[in-house]
Amino acid sequence: MGAAVAEEFRLFFRTALYVGGAGLVYWLVSLDAPGTVLLVALTLALLAFVGMAIFLAPRGAGAEGRSGVLGLLNRYIGFHEPVDAAPPLESGPELVPLGSAWPIITALGMVVIGLGLIFGAWLSLPGIGLVVWGAVGWLTQLDRMG
């Protein structure tokens, strides 16, 4: 313990605490299944991000002052950020990208698939072709450019 959890993830934790609490109260007040399921599902989805935070948090580094329960609360849901907090999680060399035709081709393919759902499965076939063509082009574009 003692590692500071990045603010990026405390954000999710605070929200999960609120939504989880709201879900519990909602169930007790209403016994309504659909709404409770939605709130519980949202809490779990938010907690998945918190799990990632704990996984990614630097061990033993960036510890914040207070210990005990208050220190724990501050680390996980507080609004304190160390002055020298390292800003990015991790960043390598950034690319300023070239243009690419693959996104528009892939998007067009997805839309044709969607239209196929309405006008007939036959129309989905060219859509699938476009998506596969677009995705392969997209994934291999940088390799082909060396």
């Binding site: 709404g35 950020e81 990015p88 060399p93 990208p97 996104p103 759902l117």
Partner: protein
């Protein structure tokens, strides 16, 4: 501008590649966040014009009793497509467009985290919108069941048109685009911030977009699920939402998305306001952390209020949803007080962006107060599905998004183009819009209280709604004139406007530290980032080395310059 250079990493410079082609192919294949931002904003504005035109036709129909221009089915299609277009194809993409252009600039990044995914989401959004509008060109016309598509009205039995299927599939794909866009923005904010840009130094616009992206990430999948099940009910014999299943489940799913959607639209425009107010008050923002806290709270609360749209079903807990809905007024009030405290004793400069921001605050205040009334179940039961609700939601949505959008466009247009919009035309446009908006929508409160239902294309003369409807229709013409004036201003200023320079307003945030318009790679150097207002620091304190001693004015001068505002 004087800056102590904080050079971009060598690796970053090495990979700066040549500019994309300026021609049509260049725009179709662009992955530059600024170009994609402009594409989003221009597309969203076109949809705003189209949806606005629909509302003008509806107001013309309603100006006097009985039917003159439209048949009832066409009227139903128009209000459905008006709402759909304004929510999904104007307000949301306008937010995404502003975020696309501004977020990398505000955090000191060369682009978004996933540039090609960014292009993909834009094209998927455009194609989805075209699919939805394609409903007008099929037999039986476009969807005609209201923008939230409640079953059983939206089932095949009652809405057999192919236009309804196009609506479902189009919105489903548009939702996918929004989710992917939010992932991109979150990754950009989390991973591409410049050295020194900690989370609590992020500009408030970026904070609002961050919370908005989280709302999109967790609410649009629920809409997607609802639409997919509706599509299965309509076309594959499902019975999830039919009377054999439970139509109310659709309402739960829809509003679990739908209420966060209100804040998906509102929060970024709150962010726009929070950027503009301190710059035009000549003061640092009052209560930075209070704004952040309020933004997060609004986002969290928005997930627990959905069924206040369902009070009259009699199947939800009115007490629970009334209390949670009232709670939202608290963080919203914190923001209002923060804006007022920032203006308090400031050196106020009522240039056009500030006029729009103050107008937005006034309009949103009215929408917020009527929202508190509607959160009270007895009042909601009385005015549900009347024009009172139409008035309320337009004060909230139009009052926030359109006023703040124009404020933001006047504020950032110089950054986008290097030229100023005409201030005089801007002020005339503001007053036309302000008067037109209030003349159009304020009477609707009274119409609602008088019992006029929403979504009717016809009413009898003896109901006593004639004068207020005529007044509202007259106001809508003023709104149209105001929008036309903006188009004229935009068209002439982009080539003939006064040169803006890099920072015409004395901005506080990083986007004003680069040229106007910015180069493809955004920055060649960055000022030191030691607070949420690096450019104001630079002006007040002079050049400061990153993490080092300030150089320039003395301690006393700095202390004097810091008076009059502070961070919470």
């Amino acid at each position: 501008m004087t800056t102590v250079e904080q050079p971009m990493p060598d690796a970053q410079r090495r990979h700066v590649l040549k500019h994309a082609d300026d021609g049509l192919i260049g725009w179709l294949t662009t992955t530059d966040h600024k170009r994609i931002g402009i594409l989003y904003m221009v597309s969203a504005f076109i949809f705003f014009l189209v949806a606005g035109l629909m509302s003008l036709v509806m107001r013309a129909e309603l100006a006097i009793p009985e039917l003159q221009l439209l048949d009832l089915q066409t009227y139903n299609q128009l209000f459905t497509m008006h709402g759909t277009a304004m929510i999904f194809f104007f307000a949301t993409p306008m937010v995404i467009g502003l975020a696309n252009y501004l977020i990398p600039l505000q955090i000191g990044a060369p682009d978004v985290a996933f540039p090609r995914l960014n292009a993909f989401t834009y094209w998927l959004f455009i194609f989805s919108a075209l699919i939805v509008f394609g409903g007008f060109f099929v037999t039986a016309g476009a969807a005609a069941f209201g923008w939230y598509g409640y079953p059983p009205l939206s089932t095949k039995t009652f809405s057999p048109s192919v236009g309804a299927d196009l609506w479902v599939v189009g919105l489903l794909l548009s939702g996918v685009a929004s989710i992917l866009g939010s992932v991109n923005i979150l990754a950009t904010i989390f991973a591409l911030r410049a050295p020194g840009m900690t989370m609590f130094r992020l500009p408030l616009f970026t904070w609002n977009i961050l919370v908005t992206s989280i709302l999109i990430l967790f609410s649009f999948p629920v809409l997607g699920a609802a639409l997919a099940l509706l599509f299965i009910d309509r076309n594959f014999g499902g019975s999830v939402f039919t009377t054999a299943g439970d139509p109310l489940v659709y309402q739960h799913l829809f509003w679990f998305f739908g209420h966060p959607e209100v804040y998906i639209i509102a929060l970024p425009f709150f962010g726009v306001v929070t950027e503009i107010v301190p710059v035009f008050s000549r003061k640092p923002l009052f209560g930075y952390k209070a704004f952040v806290f309020a933004t997060i709270l609004i986002g969290a609360y928005s997930f627990s209020v959905w069924a206040h749209h369902m009070f009259t079903t009699g199947a939800v807990s009115t007490v629970y949803f009334a209390i949670t809905s009232f709670l939202i007024a608290i963080p919203t009030g914190v923001k209002f007080f923060g804006w007022i405290a920032t203006m308090w004793r400031g050196s106020l400069w009522f240039a056009t962006p500030m006029l729009y921001v103050v107008g937005m605050m006034a309009m949103f205040l009215i929408g917020g107060i009527t929202g508190v009334f509607l959160a009270s179940p007895p009042i909601d039961y009385a005015v549900h599905d009347t024009y009172y609700v139409v008035a309320h939601m337009h004060y909230v949505l139009f009052g926030t998004s359109v006023f703040a959008m124009f404020g933001g466009l006047f504020y950032w247009f110089p950054k986008f183009t290097g030229r100023m919009l005409d201030e005089r035309l801007g002020k005339v446009q503001f007053w036309l819009l302000f008067v037109g908006f209030n003349v159009t929508f304020f009477p609707m409160h009274q119409l609602g209280i008088d019992g006029m239902p929403r979504r009717i294309g016809d009413y009898a003369a003896e109901r006593g709604w004639n004068d207020l409807n005529l007044l509202a229709s007259g106001g809508s013409v003023l709104i149209a004139v105001a929008v036309l004036l903006f188009l004229w201003n935009f068209w002439t200023s982009r080539s003939l406007g006064l040169p803006a320079g890099d920072d015409p307003w004395g901005g506080h945030t990083l986007e004003w530290a680069t040229s106007s318009p910015p180069p493809h790679h955004n920055f060649t150097s960055l000022p030191p980032i030691t607070s949420d207002r690096p450019l104001l620091d630079l002006r007040v304190r002079g050049p400061v080395r990153q993490g080092g001693e300030p150089v320039g004015p003395s301690e006393d001068e700095r202390a004097g310059a810091d008076d009059g505002g502070g961070r919470g």
